[in-house]
């Protein structure tokens, strides 16, 4: 008989005897374990990492600012708890921060909005310079930014975004847009980059992450995907940029 049928036959024979053995032995009673579903990447007494780029006074301002952009609420963490400041810190210390992804030749001239970013400041220099300007300003005000009420903080950030001032020569909107963009990145990028801790950003939205195979589900219209996301971090093989 053909190899396939031989295989099937031998399996059937095996199964019949195995089946019989089960029946003879009786059903063993094994306690059912009803453990609460394990959460991936449970943080247990995580030591805060040292910042590689930001100084403490910069961290103070940035933490307060990003937590206004994405505030914590009863259900979901805010930017700081999600690791956004660590994310920005890593980015500023790395290739992105030193303009390693931009055409970085001069001359640098002021352009139109259609022409995009033209300042001769790398992202890291932009952050440092603008934050210094902010801290200098608040040094004359009596109360530092991070100690203002939430409303007052929001007012200040609105003012920056409306380009109402310059920060050590940096148009405030350029810096504020940058900060907002980095906050969103830090909240939603894969946790390998230091933000989106425990994938809170993805869990909040319902984004399942990089493992994504939906051929069978896409036309089950309206199906609710009710599982935790899985990140690149969960694969031991990953390599970040």
């Amino acid at each position: 008989m053909s190899k396939e049928r031989q295989e099937q036959e031998s399996r059937r024979t095996f199964l019949r005897s195995a089946f019989a053995a089960c029946v003879t032995a009786g059903t063993a009673v094994i306690p059912v374990d009803r453990i609460r579903p394990a959460t991936q990447n449970q943080s247990t007494a995580e030591q805060p990492k040292p910042y590689v780029f930001f100084h403490p006074d910069e961290v103070q301002f940035l933490s307060a600012a990003v937590d206004r952009f994405i505030p914590p609420d009863e259900e979901w963490p805010g930017a700081v708890d999600a690791g956004v400041v660590e994310y920005i810190d890593q980015q500023m210390a790395g290739k992105w921060g030193s303009a390693g992804y931009m055409y970085w030749h001069g001359p640098f001239k002021e352009g139109t909005p259609s022409q995009g970013y033209q300042l001769p400041l790398t992202p890291a220099e932009l952050f440092r310079r603008a934050t210094a300007g902010i801290n200098q300003y608040f040094a004359t005000q009596g109360t530092p930014f991070h100690q203002l009420s939430a409303d007052k903080q929001d007012e200040y950030l609105e003012m920056l975004l409306a380009n109402k001032t310059t920060l050590n020569g940096v148009p405030s909107k350029v810096f504020a847009d940058f900060l907002l963009q980095h906050t969103v990145e830090g909240f939603f990028a894969d946790p390998i980059y230091g933000g989106n801790k425990n994938m809170v950003g993805w869990k909040m939205l319902g984004f399942p992450g990089p493992y994504a195979d939906y051929y069978e589900l896409i036309d089950q219209y309206g199906i609710k995907l009710d599982r935790d996301p899985v990140s690149i971090e969960s694969s031991p093989r990953h390599h970040a940029m």
């Binding site: 609420d73 939603f188 990028a189 894969d190 939205l205 051929y215 896409i218």
Partner: protein, 589 residues
């Protein structure tokens, strides 16, 4: 001093989709072919594997697969009265690089241009009269007809394994397909994609309104497929990481999956990567190319002599290569004379968001690159423009190609851009929002053009390409009209809120639109207004062929790749059947 290498029959500059096709066909015909690719080798295994390939920060935000802007950028201004400044980071359009080029990170959207598109100037005059078209538009005929190209469309689509439903089979309109498409000789090689939920909702509304919705043709495989080159592809998984990313499943039609393995097995072909071609060399009469000069990764220069030079470096880079090499007269917008850089066009796009209540789980992350549902009723010349005062149109497509959260977290109008309410709104709307894309034509003008920048240079000291472009009034009118139609459909989709965002001038390089840059080395019948003849052969140097969307005299409302593949096969057929037998101009000027 460049080291002179042994001569070959053909040098292909840029080994992306078109370079791979040209090289494969010529090597298979027995010619010795060298393919010079500035980037690196990369393959599905290991470079495109999951989960690393699905990294939104790396590939969407930091543009990981794109042309290295630190070495080779370009400059931009809206108008000649402005000074062009460098595009320091790609946003609006994202030129590719490395082996396979943009063919690796495209979405697989595969539309043919129509019969009307190839004779656009003649057709507009015939239908609407000589005085209808805005005189500022420099629309032209292509010099080739749809009927001539049809077999080559068919060939390219079978190479790719495109999935779809024919709408017009040999003149007979077919149910389920696009009734506005031009005739095709046979069905698609694969069936259409599964529809997304948003597409189903769109289809219902569009049908009720009397329009003709259909599932878009897709080169993400809809089932396992073995193409005519003998290469096997798997079915697409709708992973939502198509554009900007490579496919780990061998399911997207890319040079790697549909042609490169065959090309590389041919002993007549040699691939050299990390080979930056600096210019094409011409003989002393400047009528014939003698080969190319390229620099390797260490900066050493080489001269590769060849009888035939094929330029396939991507539309924008093709224009630059011609300018740097001095092939063809550069276009001067003041005089209107010259051809290289003339008739640059783009794509006019827009977005509509349709916000549902929380019972509707749209699941935006379940998506292929090309699994949209669309109507062609307001595209091309498919409707009467007489009362409207513009030419061209857009297709209106319900599609979400992804739910990647850094870039996708839509909110209804009136939502703040940050803070507590924004956070609540993105949570509320992320999984309950559908989206329509307007994908529209782009007409060329006297003042939109490409040339070399006088100030900024690349890493090899050569001038960057300079782009001068804004949306012409014609296209602004067109896109507003189409937006009004799209919003009407949105309202019919029975959502809570519909918000339309029409494209308005000035064009900005800071917002992604498409990487459909066309023109600059256009094909045509008249050497005064075109750089290439109908076979994509340079009028100025008969052994130079330039295969890219740089050949398009204007850009219709359809995606450019299918037509480009057809043109590549058409061109290489002419080379094999005519040029090789008798090298020289194939068309008398």
């Amino acid at each position: 001093m460049a080291e002179k290498l042994k001569a070959v029959d053909v040098v292909v500059v840029g080994v992306g989709f078109m370079g791979a096709i040209m090289a494969k066909e010529l090597a298979a015909a027995g010619l010795s072919v060298v393919g010079l690719e500035r980037g690196k080798k990369r393959w599905t295994v290991p470079e495109f594997q999951s989960p690393d390939i699905h990294d939104e920060l790396k590939y969407s935000i930091r543009k990981g697969m794109m042309q290295d802007v630190t070495r080779e950028a370009m400059t931009f201004r809206n108008y000649s009265s402005q000074e062009a400044l460098p595009i320091r980071q790609w946003q609006a359009f994202l030129p590719g690089t490395d082996l396979g080029g943009s063919g690796v990170h495209w979405n697989g959207q595969t539309f043919r241009f129509t019969e009307a598109d190839f004779v656009w100037h003649t057709r507009m005059g015939e239908r609407y009269g000589k005085n209808f078209v805005d005189p500022d538009l420099t629309i032209q005929d292509w010099g080739v007809t749809y009927d001539e190209l049809e077999p080559y469309f068919d060939k390219f689509e079978h190479l790719l394994g495109t999935g779809g439903k024919a709408g017009n089979l040999n003149g007979k309109i077919q149910p389920g397909g696009n009734p506005f498409e031009s005739w095709r000789s046979r069905e698609y090689p694969n069936p259409p994609m599964k529809e997304q939920y948003g597409g189903v909702l769109f289809r219902k509304a569009a049908t009720e309104m009397g329009y003709h919705p259909f599932v878009q043709p897709s080169s993400n495989m809809t089932r396992p497929y073995t193409n005519p080159e003998g290469l096997q592809l798997n079915a697409c998984n709708y992973c939502g990481f198509c554009e900007r990313y490579a496919c780990e499943h061998f399911a997207k039609a890319t040079p790697q999956t549909v042609i490169l393995p065959v090309l590389l097995k041919n002993p007549h072909f040699e691939l050299r990567t990390e080979a930056q071609v600096l210019r094409v060399n011409l003989d002393s009469h400047k009528k014939r190319a003698t080969g190319v000069i390229y620099a390797d990764a260490t900066g050493r220069e080489f001269e590769q002599p060849a009888d035939l030079v094929i330029i396939t470096t991507y539309a924008l880079n093709n224009v630059r290569m011609m300018l740097l090499s001095g092939i063809g007269r550069p276009y001067d917008p003041k005089t209107g004379k010259g051809v290289i850089g003339r008739n640059y066009a783009y794509q006019t796009t827009g977005d509509v968001y349709v916000f549902y209540d929380e019972s509707v789980n749209v699941n935006p992350f379940m998506a292929a690159g090309a699994s949209g549902t669309l109507i062609d009723d307001f595209n091309d010349d498919n409707f009467d423009h007489g009362p409207l005062g513009f030419i061209g149109g857009s297709y209106i497509m319900s599609a979400l190609t992804n739910g990647r959260p850094i870039e996708f977290h839509p909110t209804p109008p009136g939502t703040p851009d940050w803070g507590k309410d924004w956070k609540a709104a993105i949570r509320r709307h992320y999984n309950h929002t559908a989206h329509m894309l307007l994908h529209g034509s782009s007409m060329p003008t006297r003042t939109n053009y490409l040339d070399l920048d006088p100030t900024y240079k690349d890493a090899w000291g050569l001038p960057l390409l300079r782009m001068t472009f804004d949306f012409p009034e014609n296209d602004v009118k067109m896109t507003q009209f189409c937006m009004d139609r799209a919003v009407e459909i949105g309202k019919r989709m029975r959502a809570k809120t519909v918000a339309g965002y029409p494209r308005k001038p000035p064009f900005t390089t800071q917002k992604y639109q498409t990487t459909h840059n066309t023109g600059g080395v256009v094909m045509g019948s008249d050497p005064h207004t075109s750089a290439l003849n109908r076979y994509l052969q340079s009028w100025d140097a008969h052994n130079v062929f330039v295969v890219g969307a740089s050949a398009y005299p204007q850009n219709p409302g359809y995606n450019p790749t299918d037509t480009l593949g057809a043109l590549a096969y058409w061109s290489v057929d002419a080379i094999k059947k005519q040029y090789l037998k008798k090298p020289g101009p194939l068309v008398s000027a």
